[in-house]
Amino acid sequence: MLRDYVPLLLHIGVAIGFAVSALLMSVLLGKAGRRTRVKDTAYECGMVPQGETQPRFSVKFYLVAMLFILFDLEIVFMYPWAVVYKEMIVESKLVLWSMLSFVTILMIGYVYALKKGALDWKR
């Protein structure tokens, strides 16, 4: 069983090795000057930045991410459904109707979000 995971191990090894070697080479071969507070600012030779450097983001990002998670959850339940569907549909139609009702319940939420303009980016 463990032997199945050797390609995954190789993949992880290559990923970590690449990241470490790239960072290490840039430290070893690159030339680093002395770092000062002024040098770390965005425009070293320009004006001293004033006020907030970090812009506040719109709450729309949060809304989109949250809706993404909720519909992601819906898909999670579709995986086992798709696996057992062919086997269970022979016995009864229940498996079809239960998933249809689940999707219908979620569709109400989707239509609500759509009608409220929650997915409308411009507003």
């Binding site: 709450v59 696996v83 409220k116």
Partner: protein, 167 residues
């Protein structure tokens, strides 16, 4: 699976779980949490719970972390970096954590089941996604529909809470 792998992944989880708390930069904390979730998923997979392992990566490391990163974007990061460590709170928190640890050790020591070695898992006849699906659509059909209502409530809730001037 070999116990070495369990210890390895448990160690990775503990180190990155600690990194979540210790890091001053919230983005670095969030990314440490991703690695922590990966270790947890590896532990699930080593218990032959492949479905939960994959969901752990897809939903938690994928979707929930996106939400965390967006929330970090909404916050003012400078406040966290400027904040000084309160020594009294630090020592107090450490004491509470230590007391809890001692208590857990004490309870586990009293527990009879903790002393015996558990038998190794039997090889499954079916893959676990199959099992989950069969149970979900026969015995647990009503809870499944209730989850649908719960997600609906969450959908409406997030739209209402984050509204500014909705139609």
């Amino acid at each position: 699976m070999s116990p070495i792998l369990f210890w390895l992944f448990a160690f990775v989880m503990l180190v990155f779980g600690a990194a979540v708390v210790i890091n001053r930069n919230p983005i670095a904390s969030a990314l440490s949490l991703v690695v922590c979730f990966m270790g947890l998923s590896a532990l699930f997979i080593s218990l032959d719970a492949f479905f939960i392992g994959i969901i752990q990566v897809l939903v938690y490391a994928g979707a929930v972390m996106v939400l965390f990163l967006f929330i970090i974007m909404l916050l003012d990061l400078r406040v966290e970096e400027r904040r000084k460590i309160n020594l009294v709170a630090f020592v107090g928190g450490l004491a509470v954590a230590f007391a809890l640890f001692v208590q857990i050790c004490f309870v586990v020591d009293q527990l009879g089941a903790a002393k015996q070695a558990f038998p190794s898992l039997r090889a499954a006849k079916m893959d676990d996604v199959h099992n989950v699906g069969l149970l979900l659509f026969t015995n647990y059909n009503l809870p499944f529909q209730i989850i649908g209502v719960l997600v609906l409530v969450a959908t409406i809730g997030v739209v209402v809470l984050s509204k500014r001037e909705l139609r």
